[in-house]
Amino acid sequence: MPEPVLSVRHLKVGFPTRRGTLTAVDGVSFDIAAGEVLGVVGESGAGKSLTGAAIIGLIEPPGRILGGEIYLGGQRIDTLTAEAMRKVRGRRIGTVFQDPLTSLNPLYPIGDQIVETIRTHTPLSRAAARKRAVALLRETGVQGAEERLDGYPHEFSGGMRQRVVLALALCAEPELLIADEPTTALDVSIQAQIIALLKRLAKERGTAVLIITHDMGVIAEMADRVSVMYSGRIVEIGPVREVVLSPRHPYTRGLMGSIPPLAARVPRLTQIPGAMPRLDAIPAGCAFHPRCPQAFDRCRVERPERLAVAPSCEAACWLYAVPRVAPAEVGA
């Protein structure tokens, strides 16, 4: 098996406060191989974005990494110096944020911002970098790239801006692309275009992609594998088909139940009662147990490990602890 591009091991991120440290990401582990797209899905506050921020080393203080390891192409990066990490960002890890409207500096033409990034990471001359910028913009589907290079961000539509952001993220040919809610701020019609573009570019270049979203539709459309996060932990991870069609964890099942299926006619959508706990009140045992319809004693005291539930599919749920219940019986 080839070495994964990104490998996250037992990552723990928290915020020190007056009343003790709040843990927002707790023991998260996953791998992404070259050319693979891993989706991270969960409610807001589940720790998805913080996981992404931890990988690029840009957690906003006072938040910080409390434990675990992050490897990029086999090299450990969470212990790098600030300056070394800066050279990894943009060069080896590209990033796309949620809101293309605010991701670009309003006071500079987009061309300047692209050229600046290219020249930070490559020895290209200004003219060569400009040529590269035009090529990139063409590749990301910006019409009339050459003339638009001198346009200011406010002169572009939301979808066009996200294409520019994508060009910026890819301009140094990174091994890994982290896309944090890349389509949430866009019109539905534009969303599909951006998703398709992202998918095509990643496949062409063999870039590993970590896509963070709360939208299962985006995951289904784009990802190869998906990891479901709840309250700072991964509760289920596996191939998208597997997770979407036969979710194992009760939370995932609830999540799938809340999406209207297009093909089948379902009388009504189910909803998970309650809400995700706040960081200062994460219950003991399985964080989901107060809302779980199938919780039993063990869930209230012991935190579930991630258990293999199907080929390359894992769930952190005591329902799958071997002697107790066979997976087939669950949820009938």
């Binding site: 506050g45 809400a275 706990p277 219950p283 107060p290």
Partner: protein, 319 residues
């Protein structure tokens, strides 16, 4: 991150606390105790307030009673310096007034004028802000345009102008007697704008909320709605502005007095004292400037520190 509370969490949060315990647990109190500087500032402020209130009891001499002054004692240096007199611990001024007593009385005037001016500015600004925000339309436009124009001028200039106009309108001997009110009005009118703008902003938001709609439907008068229902929402920011404003008002009063349009030399405030002392700076009578100057600076600094802290504590975004 928006979460509703789970039952679990409600349990965790329902630790019973005594009122004092709740105060001690509050973020405001915690951030107060964390900064030694702020505690010191509060201490200085309280001490000065006490000294000002108790001035008639504490002061060795009544500086307003011209009969008790002796020109023979004029320009006496502080007690510990050469030529000092034990009756005058901080020395005397050119009239033979005890500097310590005059500072106590002067602080009293400064604080009294400061508080009154802030009260006036707050009352005026909050009322106009509420009206502008609640009524909207032409009233709003009129009030806010006036605010805009006044905002182009520094407050000190506005205060000077009002002061000058009052001086011209009333006969000067009548002004002398009512100088206190002239100062309160000039300073109060110079600082209402910030209150009005802040209160208007909050009012605009609150006006459209359901509870105001409900109050309107049950037939409460606009005045009642504005002052009983909307006003409580703006008390936080108003308190912050008022605190910072108090420091500004004290400085403005001192400045006006220094410029010779404030309190007369017979009833000196800290600013007047500094103005008098400034004339004797070159003859080496440093104590006439230094003691009132330090008092004024300490007072303004302490109040400013409190205001700064209050602003940061109530606006966690900037922390």
């Amino acid at each position: 991150m928006a979460h509703s509370q789970s039952p679990m969490e409600k349990q965790a949060l329902a630790i019973p606390l005594s009122p004092f315990g709740r105060l001690r647990d509050s973020d405001l109190f915690q951030s107060f105790m964390r900064s030694r500087l702020v505690v010191a500032a509060a201490l200085v402020t309280v001490l000065m307030l006490a000294a000002a209130l108790l001035a008639p009891l504490m002061a060795p001499q009544d500086p307003y009673d011209l009969g008790s002054l002796s020109l023979l004692d004029a320009n006496t240096p502080p007690a510990w310096a050469q030529g000092g007199d034990r009756r005058y611990p901080l020395g005397t001024d050119d009239q033979g007034r005890d500097i310590l007593s005059t500072i106590l009385y002067g602080t009293r005037s400064s604080l009294l004028i400061g508080f009154s001016a802030v009260l006036l500015a707050t009352a005026l600004g909050v009322t106009l802000g509420l009206c502008a925000g609640y009524a909207g339309g032409r009233i709003d436009a009129l009030i806010m345009r006036i605010a805009d124009v006044q905002l182009t001028f520094p407050a000190i200039l506005t205060a000077l102008l009002i002061d000058g106009v009052m001086l011209a309108v009333f006969k000067s001997h009548r002004v002398e007697a009512g100088k206190f009110w002239v100062l309160v009005i000039s300073i109060g009118l110079a600082y209402w704008v910030q209150y009005a703008r802040t209160v208007r902003g909050v009012t605009l938001v609150e006006r459209n909320k359901e509870y105001v709609e409900a109050a309107r439907l049950i037939g409460l008068s606009p005045i009642k709605i504005m002052f009983q229902h909307i006003l409580p929402n703006v008390m936080g920011p108003v308190l912050v502005i008022a605190t910072i404003n108090l420091a500004l008002a004290i400085i403005t009063e001192a400045t006006l007095s220094f410029l010779g349009v404030g309190l007369p030399p017979t009833e000196p405030s800290l600013g007047t004292m500094i103005q008098i002392g400034n004339r004797y700076l070159f003859s080496g009578s440093w104590w006439m400037v230094v003691f009132p100057g330090v008092t004024l600076a300490l007072l303004a600094l302490a109040v400013n520190l409190l205001g700064d802290w209050l602003r940061d504590a109530l606006n966690p975004k900037l922390r």
